[in-house]
Amino acid sequence: MKKTVLVLIALMLFIAPLAAQGPKEEQGPIVLKYWTHEDPNRTRIEDRYIQEFQAANPNITIERTTQASTKMMELVQTAFAANSGPDIFNISIEDEYQYIVNGRVAPVNPQAAGYKDLKDLLDTYTDGILDPVTLDGNVYGLPLELTNWCIFINKKVFRSAGLDPEKDYPKTWEEMADLSEKLVIRDGDILIRRGFDFRYPYYLVAFLPMVEQLGGQLISDDGKTAIVNEQAWLKFLTFMQQWGPSGRNLGSPTYKNARNLFNKDNNDIAMATTGLYQIGRIRAENPAFYNSKEWMVVPFPVFKDAVQDVAASFYGHYLMVNAQSSKATQDAAWKFIGYMLSHAEEYLTEVSLIQPKKALFASDAYKNIPYSDVFTKDFDRGHIVYYGAASAEFQTLIRSAVESVILSGETPEKALATLKRDAQELLDEQL
C-alpha cells in the first residue's frame, strides 16, 4: 500500500514537467487565440479587421479576448507557465522581453506578415524601434503602439486659480510642485482638487527618467553597478517625499488615478501625465470637453538643475506569437498581425495609437493630430523604457523606495540604502 502511494506521488511529480510541449503540428482549420488589453475604440476597429480577415481567409477563425491592461501581464504569464498561452498577445515591452529571452515567442515571418523580406520589414519602422524585440538577428514582435507621455493640462482649472495655462504651464518639476500648490483645493488634509499627480505603478516609464535628468542611472554603462549617482537618486526621493502627504501634500498613490479623472473634467485634477491615446479617450468619453479645446499638451518637465534633458521613456506594446503554436498557426498569426497593422492611419485617427512607422510619422494624418508635434519632440528627448530579464523586479524595488518615503515615513537616505542593496543583489544574480 505504502509503495503504491509512493509510486503514485512520484508519477504525479514527474507528469507535469513532461506535459511541457513544443510546437504542435496542426491540420485543417486554424483558430487563433488573440489576447489583448481593453480599449473600446480599438475593439471597434479590430473587430472589423477580424471580420474582413476571416472573410478573406475562411480557414482561419480569430477569437479575440480583452482584459484590463493591469491584469494582462499575469494572465498571459500564467497561461504560458501552463503551456497554454494564447497564439497572439501584447503586453508592455518591459514585461514582454522575458518571453523573447526564454524562447517563448516565435520570430516574425516577414513574408506572412506582408513584407518582401526582413530588410523590407526593418525599413518600414523608425530606426531602433525594433531593437527591444531583436535577438540574434531575429525580430520577435511588431509594435501595435509606441507610447510616450507628456503633460495634459485642463485650461479651465488653471484659469480658475488665476493662472494663464499658455504661459504658466510647468517647465520644471520644481514649478510643477509650486503650481500644484496654487491649484490644489483642500478640505483640511484631504485633497479635493489636485494640481498634478503621478502615475504611480509606472516607475520605469516616468520616474526613472526624472532620476536620469539629475544624472542618475538604474544600471551603470558597464552593466555591473545598480543605482548609479546616489546624489541624483537622493534628490529624486526627497522630491517625492515632499510631494506626498507627509510633505507638501500635493498627491498620493492612494487617490484616484489622475489620468482617468482628467477626462471627466470635474474640477478635481488640473494636470495628468499620459500618452497621445488619451486624446482618443477624451473624445470618446467626454466629447464636450474634447470639443471645448479647454485642454492642451505640454512637454514632460525636467528638474531645474538637470544635467540632461530627458523626457518620459517611451514604451511599446508589441504583438507577439506563441512559439508553442504550430508552424501553420504561427504563419496565420503573423498574417493576421500584418493585416491589422497595415491600418496604421486608422489606428491613429480612431484610437490615437502610434505605430512607429516612418510613413505614419511623415503622414498628414499624424501631423493633423492635435499636439502630435509635442509628442514627437518628446520622443526625440526620450529613450525606450528600461527592459531586461529583471525589469519587473527593478520596478518593484523602485516602487518600494518611493512608497516608503511618500507613505511610510522613511527617510530618503534609508530608502536609498535599501534600494541600492536590493538592486545590486538583483543585478549580481543576473550576471
Binding site: 503514485l8 506521488i9 504525479m12 511529480l13 507535469a16 511541457a20 493591469t70 499575469e74 504569464q77 500564467t78 504560458f80 507557465a81 522575458q98 518571453y99 526564454n102 524562447g103 517563448r104 483642500r186 478640505d187 483640511g188 488634509d189 484631504i190 485633497l191 479635493i192 504611480y200 506626498g244 502627504p245 498620493s252 498613490p253 492612494t254 487617490y255 484616484k256 529583471a390 519587473a392 523586479e393 518593484t396 516602487r399 518600494s400 512608497e403 516608503s404 511618500i406 507613505l407 511610510s408 515615513g409 536590493d422
Partner: protein, 303 residues
C-alpha cells in the same frame, strides 16, 4: 494451507476505506499533490517562463529567504495581521453569538444573523474593492469618522499610513468573517441542553457565572474549531492586501507571506523561491494547528 482470518471490524474497515477513496483522491489531487510539487519545486531555481531544465539548488531557496529582510518583514506582517484579526474575531463572534442566542424574538435574531452573515458570502475581492472606495481620502471612511468625531478635514490615511493600512486590512477581514464564525458559535451554543442552565439557575447561579462555568467549558470544542479556522484564514489572507496594494497602498506594511509569494512567483517569475515561501507558510500553519490542538486538549462533550 491455513486460511487467513479476517475479523468483522477489518471487513467494515475495508468498506470504510472504499467510501473514503473519492475524498482521498480529491485531496491527493488538489491538496497533497500541490504541496509535494511545491516542495519539489522549492529545490530548484525555476523561472515561470523558462523552458530550460531548472538548476537544482537543494535548500538554496530556503537559505535565501531566511536571510532576506523582505521575507522576515512578510513573517512580521502575517503575524501582526493574524493576531490583530484572529483574536478579535474569536472574542467578538462569541460575544455576538451569546447575545443573539439570548434574544427572545426569533425575527430580531434572524435579522441579526442575516446582517452579520451577508458579508461572508461576498467574494473577498468585492469586499476589498468596496472598502477600497470607502478608504479613499475623499471616501466614506473619512467622512463618517470626521462627522462622528467632529474633526472636519482630517485625513485618517486609511491606506497611506504604514500603521493605518494594517488596521484597515484587519477591519475588512473582521467585517467579512465575523458573521461566519458567529453562526458556528450559535450552532455550538444551541447544542448545550437548556436543562443544565435551568439546574444552575435553581442552584442560584447568575448569568455571568453560567457563562463562565457552563457555556464556555461546554463550548470548548467549538472555540477550538473556530480558533483554528479563523487563524488559518488569517494566515492565508491575500486578496485584501493584494487589492489594497493595487489601489496604491504601500506594499511593505501589508506584504503578508501570500502577497510576497505572489510577487516573487508571478511578478518576479521566481517560482522556485515562491514555492519555498509557500512551504514555510504551510509549516507555520501546520505547527500552529498542532499547537492549538495540543494545548486546548479538546475533549468530546456528551450530554
Amino acid at each position: 494451507m491455513k486460511r487467513k482470518y479476517i475479523g468483522i471490524e477489518r471487513k467494515e474497515a475495508r468498506w470504510g476505506f472504499a467510501f473514503t477513496v473519492p475524498a482521498i483522491l480529491f485531496f491527493s489531487l488538489f491538496s497533497f499533490y500541490p504541496i509535494l510539487n511545491a516542495l519539489y519545486t522549492s529545490m530548484f531555481d525555476k523561472r515561470v517562463l523558462s523552458l530550460a531544465a531548472p538548476k537544482f539548488m537543494g535548500f538554496g531557496n530556503y537559505s535565501y529567504i531566511f536571510t532576506s529582510p523582505d521575507f522576515w518583514n512578510s513573517i512580521r506582517a502575517t503575524f501582526v495581521f493574524t493576531l490583530g484579526t484572529f483574536l478579535p474575531i474569536v472574542i467578538f463572534s462569541l460575544m455576538l453569538a451569546v447575545f443573539m442566542v439570548n434574544l427572545k424574538s426569533n425575527k430580531v435574531r434572524g435579522f441579526f444573523q442575516i446582517a452579520y452573515y451577508t458579508p461572508a458570502v461576498i467574494s473577498s475581492v468585492v469586499a476589498a474593492a468596496i472598502w477600497l472606495i470607502m478608504f479613499d481620502p475623499r471616501g466614506l471612511g473619512n467622512q463618517w469618522l470626521n462627522a462622528l468625531l467632529r474633526t472636519p478635514g482630517v485625513d485618517r490615511k486609511w491606506l497611506a499610513d504604514a500603521t493605518m493600512v494594517q488596521v484597515s486590512t484587519m477591519v475588512v477581514y473582521f467585517w467579512k468573517y465575523i458573521g461566519y464564525f458567529v453562526v458556528l458559535f450559535i450552532t455550538g451554543l444551541s447544542a448545550i441542553p437548556p436543562a443544565i442552565y435551568e439546574a444552575a439557575t435553581i442552584d442560584g447561579s447568575s448569568k455571568w457565572q453560567a457563562f463562565w462555568r457552563i457555556t464556555l467549558p461546554l463550548l470548548k470544542p467549538t472555540v477550538v474549531l473556530v480558533s483554528i479556522m479563523a487563524m488559518l484564514q488569517c494566515l492565508k489572507t491575500f486578496s485584501t492586501q493584494y487589492l489594497f496594494v493595487q489601489g496604491g497602498a504601500p506594499r511593505a506594511p501589508i506584504n503578508v507571506i501570500t502577497l510576497n509569494i505572489y510577487t516573487t512567483g508571478i511578478r518576479n517569475q521566481r517560482i522556485g523561491r515562491a514555492s519555498a515561501m509557500s512551504i514555510v507558510l504551510f509549516l507555520i500553519m501546520l505547527l500552529f494547528t498542532w499547537m492549538q490542538f495540543r494545548f486546548s486538549k479538546s475533549e468530546e462533550v456528551e450530554y
